[in-house]
C-alpha cells in the first residue's frame, strides 16, 4: 500500500493550491458573491486551461488520463478555499456519468466541450421524496413523436442555473434512463436559488419537457449513476476534508491570538480538548476518504457500502467541526464578513448534499457485505 502522491499528483496539488491562494482568497471570493459574479465563467475557463476539467477522465475520452484521485486532490484544495463553481456537479458527477456510458458521438462531444470549459453540465437526478436515496426516481419519460416528454420534479440540482446542458434521469416503460436537455430551452422550468454556501442551485420542474436525446436505457443507467455519484461523493468528502482542515487551523490561530480574562484562549483546557476532538474527526474523515477511493476497484455492494460509510462519517464530522469552529470563535464566528462562518455553511451543505449521515447509515444497514471478510481489507 502506498498513500503518497505521485509526482504528477503532487504537481497537480501544488498548482491548485497556488491558484486558490492567488485567485481565490477570501476577499475576492466574497467580492464575487457580493457582485453576483458567481455565475460568470472567468474561473471556469481558467479551470479548463489548467486541465482540471479533464483531470479525472481517461485519455480515450479526451481527458488527461487521471482518475478519481486527481479529482479528489483538486476538490480538497477547493475545500480549503471554498470554491464556488460547480466543479463536482459538472466535471465529476456529470462527466463520470457520461464516461460510464457506451461511447457515442454524443457523449464524446459533450465531454470534449466540458473538458474545454465551453459547456457546463448539470445532472438532475435527486428528487424531493428521494431524501438522498439515489435509488428513488419518480420522474417519468414517455415517447412522443420520436422524441421524449419528461414529467416530474428534480430538486437541489447544483449548478443548474448556470448549466448549458442537463442530464435528467427518468423512468420509461422499459426502466431507468438518462436524457439530455438543453438548459436554454427550458429556462422557464428552472427555479434557481442560492444555497447557504453562496453556490447556485435550482429545481427543475419538468412539465412535458421535450428531450430528443436519450443518453442511456435500463442496461446502463443505474451503473452510470452509481459510478458518477461514487466519484462525486469521494470528491465532496475530499472537499469537506479541505474545508475542515482550514476551519480547524483558522480556529487554532484565533485561539492563540485571542485574549480573555488575562490569558489567551488556547490556554483553556476545555477548548484544547474540543480542538483535539475536532482534529480526530478531521483525521477520521481523511482516512475514510482513502477507503472510499480504494473502493473504486470494488464491485457493489462493497463499493456502495464504502461510499455510504464515507459520506455518513464525513457528514457528521463536517457538522461537528464546522459548528465548533464557529463556537470557539464566539460572536465573530457568526458574522458574514469573517471567513469561519462560511466554512460552517459550506460544511452544512456538504453534510446534506447527496444524502446526509442517516441516509447513508440506512444504506449501510440495509446492504450486506463485510469489508473484513477478507482480513485487513478488501482488495
Amino acid at each position: 500500500m502506498d498513500f503518497s502522491l505521485s509526482a504528477e499528483q503532487q504537481l497537480l496539488q501544488d498548482t491548485v493550491t497556488q491558484y486558490c491562494k492567488k485567485q481565490y482568497d477570501f476577499e475576492s471570493r466574497m467580492a464575487r458573491v457580493a457582485s453576483d459574479k458567481v455565475a460568470d465563467r472567468t474561473q471556469w475557463k481558467a479551470f479548463a486551461d489548467l486541465g482540471w476539467l479533464g483531470a479525472g477522465l481517461p485519455e480515450e475520452l479526451g481527458g488527461y488520463g487521471g482518475s478519481v484521485i486527481d479529482n479528489s486532490i483538486i476538490c480538497e484544495q477547493f475545500g480549503h478555499a471554498l470554491v464556488l463553481e460547480p466543479f463536482i456537479s459538472s466535471a465529476v458527477l456529470s462527466c463520470q456519468i457520461l464516461a460510464s456510458l457506451p461511447v457515442s458521438q454524443q457523449t464524446m462531444l459533450l465531454l470534449e466541450k466540458s473538458i474545454a470549459g465551453d459547456t457546463i453540465l448539470a445532472t438532475a437526478h435527486s428528487e424531493p421524496a428521494a431524501r438522498g436515496n439515489l435509488q428513488h426516481t419518480e420522474t417519468r419519460a414517455t415517447p412522443h413523436k420520436g422524441e421524449w416528454r419528461l414529467n416530474g420534479k428534480k430538486s437541489l440540482v447544483v449548478g443548474l442555473s448556470i448549466a448549458d446542458h442537463v442530464i435528467v434521469s427518468a423512468n420509461t416503460d422499459e426502466g431507468a434512463a438518462l436524457f439530455l436537455v438543453d438548459a436554454e430551452a427550458i429556462q422557464s422550468q428552472i427555479k434557481p436559488y442560492r444555497t447557504i454556501d453562496n453556490a447556485l442551485a435550482g429545481d427543475l420542474c419538468l412539465e412535458n419537457t421535450p428531450s430528443s436525446v436519450k443518453l442511456s436505457g435500463p442496461e446502463h443507467t443505474m451503473r452510470a449513476l452509481a459510478n458518477g455519484f461514487a466519484d462525486a461523493l469521494i470528491c465532496l468528502c475530499s472537499e469537506a476534508v479541505g474545508a475542515m482542515d482550514t476551519a480547524l487551523f483558522l480556529t487554532r490561530d484565533y485561539l492563540k491570538l485571542r485574549q480573555q480574562f488575562g490569558s489567551s484562549l488556547n490556554n483553556f483546557q476545555s477548548l484544547q480538548h474540543r480542538m483535539a476532538e475536532m482534529l480526530v474527526e478531521l483525521e477520521l474523515s481523511r482516512s475514510i476518504v482513502y477507503h472510499g477511493i480504494a473502493s473504486s476497484g470494488m464491485s457493489d455492494p462493497l463499493r456502495s457500502r464504502a461510499i455510504s460509510a464515507m459520506k455518513a462519517l464525513v457528514s457528521s464530522a463536517a457538522l461537528f467541526v464546522g459548528a465548533n469552529a464557529v463556537q470557539l470563535h464566539g460572536a465573530i464566528g457568526m458574522t458574514e464578513e469573517y471567513s469561519i462562518g462560511h466554512y460552517y455553511k459550506r460544511l452544512r451543505v456538504i453534510s446534506h448534499l447527496y444524502g446526509n449521515e442517516d441516509t447513508h447509515l440506512k444504506i449501510l444497514s440495509t446492504t450486506q457485505g463485510s469489508f473484513w471478510d477478507e482480513g485487513v481489507h478488501q482488495h
Binding site: 436559488y193 442560492r194 429545481d203 463556537q327 458574514e336 464578513e337
Partner: protein, 403 residues
C-alpha cells in the same frame, strides 16, 4: 406536592390565550410564522396592544406598570405569546434596563424612561461588549469624561443587538481612570440620535441583521443620564446579567419548534411515505421532545423554588446551557425536515434589507417553512451569546459542584 396547574391558573391561561387569539393582528401573526427576526414596526404595534391591556411589562413591579402575577403566571403569559409566535419585545429595555432603573435609577430617570418603554415609544440597546472585551466586561475601553454637567463619550461598542432599531443605549463606560477596572466603570444612558453616534451593521451568517457596531465619537451625554453612582456600573451590570433566571431556557420557543417540525415532517414526502415515518428522523424528534419536556419541568421547578435561593444563578446556567443547545438542535432538525430547502437561502420576503443583491429564492409557499433555513444558521449563535456554553459549564462547576 401538587404537580397540576390550579383551576385558577387554567382560567388565567385560557384568558391569555383568548386575548392573543383576538388581539394579535393577522399580518404580524403571519410574519411570526416566518420566524425571522421581529420587525421593529410589528414589535411596536404589538407593544401598544399589550400596553392597552396593561400587559406590556408583566414582570415589572406594579408601581412601574407591571403586574403582581406569580412567577408561574408570568411564565404562562410568555408561553402563550410564544405559542402564537407573537413578536419578541424589546428585551433590552424590559428585561435588562428596567430592573436596573427600578433599583438604581433616580426618580427622574424612572419617570423619564420607564413609561415610554411601557408604551413602546422608545427602543433600547445595550452597549456593553467591545472589540477586545468579549465576555470579560471589566476590560472595556470606552471613556466618558465629565466636564461641567456633560460627559464626552468616546469608544467603540460591538455586538450591539438592535442598535439599528434603538432610540437609546445603556452603556458601560470608563469614568474613573485611577481605580481598578471593576471600580472605574459607570452606567450611562445615551441618546442614539446624538451627534457622533455611528451605527454600522454586522451582517450575520444567515444574511440577516441583528448585530451592529456602534462608534461613539465625542458624544455628549448630560450628567443626569448617569445611573446611580459613578464607578458602580460594573456592579449594576452584573446584577442585571443575573436577573433573568428562566427565560434563557427559551423553552416556549423550542416547544413550538417541535410541533412545527412534526408538521413539516408530516408534509414532506420521503419515498412513498413522509419524513416523519422515517424511524431515524422520528428518533431525533422524540429525543428532542424528551429533553425539552425535561427542561420545561426544570423551569417549572425553578419558578416555584424560593426566588432568593442563592443557587438560583447556577440553576440559570443549567437552563441557559441546555436551552441553547435544544434551541439550535430544534432549528437544525426543522431544516433537516425541510430537506433541500433547509440549506437554501431564503431572505425574509417582507424584510427591508438583504445582504446580497440576488433576489433568488427557493419556491417555498408555506408560511412556517419560509424562515427555517435562516433560523437554523442564526441559532448557531445560541450557545455563544448571553455567556457561551463553556462559560456556563464553568459557572455550574464552581457554584453548584464547588469544584
Amino acid at each position: 406536592m401538587d404537580l397540576r396547574l390550579s383551576p385558577d391558573d387554567i382560567i388565567f391561561r385560557d384568558e391569555i390565550r383568548a386575548f392573543v387569539e383576538t388581539s394579535l393582528p393577522a399580518d404580524i401573526r403571519r410574519r411570526g410564522q416566518h420566524d425571522y427576526h421581529s420587525h421593529k414596526d410589528d414589535v411596536t404595534r404589538w407593544m401598544r396592544i399589550l400596553y392597552s391591556n396593561g400587559w406590556s411589562a408583566v414582570h415589572w413591579p406594579v408601581e412601574f406598570g407591571g403586574t403582581n402575577w406569580s412567577p408561574l403566571r408570568k411564565y404562562i403569559f410568555q408561553d402563550e405569546l410564544r405559542r402564537a409566535r407573537a413578536p419578541v419585545l424589546d428585551r433590552c429595555a424590559l428585561d435588562l434596563l428596567g430592573p436596573v432603573l427600578f433599583k438604581y435609577g433616580s426618580r427622574a430617570q424612572q419617570e423619564r424612561f420607564l413609561p415610554r418603554i411601557l408604551r413602546g415609544e422608545e427602543w433600547w440597546c445595550q452597549g456593553f461588549s467591545e472589540p477586545n472585551s468579549g465576555s470579560d466586561l471589566a476590560s472595556i475601553k470606552t471613556r466618558a469624561e465629565l466636564s461641567g454637567d456633560t460627559f464626552r463619550v468616546n469608544g467603540h461598542k460591538i455586538w450591539t443587538t438592535e442598535a439599528h432599531y434603538a432610540d437609546w443605549m445603556f452603556a458601560l463606560v470608563k469614568t474613573e481612570s485611577d481605580k481598578k477596572p471593576q471600580a472605574s466603570i459607570s452606567f450611562l444612558l445615551l441618546d442614539m440620535k446624538s451627534p457622533g453616534v455611528t451605527v454600522r451593521p454586522i451582517w450575520s451568517i444567515e444574511e440577516g441583521l441583528t448585530l451592529n457596531e456602534v462608534f461613539l465619537e465625542d458624544v455628549s451625554v448630560p450628567a443626569e443620564n448617569l445611573v446611580g453612582t459613578a464607578g458602580e456600573g460594573w456592579r449594576y451590570a452584573k446584577d442585571l446579567l443575573t436577573h433573568e433566571r428562566t427565560s434563557s431556557a427559551v423553552i416556549s420557543h423550542t416547544k413550538r419548534d417541535i410541533e412545527q417540525i412534526r408538521r413539516i415532517a408530516s408534509r414532506q414526502p420521503q419515498e412513498s411515505a413522509c419524513v416523519i415515518d422515517d424511524p431515524l428522523f422520528a428518533r431525533k424528534l422524540s429525543r428532542l421532545e424528551c429533553e425539552t419536556i425535561a427542561l420545561e419541568w426544570a423551569v417549572l421547578r425553578s419558578l416555584s423554588a424560593d426566588q432568593d435561593d442563592s443557587s438560583s444563578d447556577a440553576v440559570a446556567s443549567v437552563l441557559k446551557l441546555k436551552g441553547a443547545e435544544l434551541s439550535e438542535r430544534a432549528a437544525l432538525l426543522a431544516a433537516e425536515a425541510l430537506g433541500d430547502y433547509g440549506i437554501a437561502v431564503m431572505n425574509d420576503p417582507e424584510g427591508h434589507s438583504t445582504r446580497y443583491p440576488s433576489s433568488l429564492a427557493p419556491p417555498i409557499t408555506d408560511d412556517e417553512e419560509i424562515g427555517v433555513s435562516a433560523r437554523a444558521l442564526f441559532r448557531r449563535a445560541t450557545t455563544i451569546y448571553g455567556g457561551t456554553s463553556e462559560i456556563q459549564k464553568t459557572l455550574i462547576a464552581r457554584s453548584i459542584l464547588e469544584l
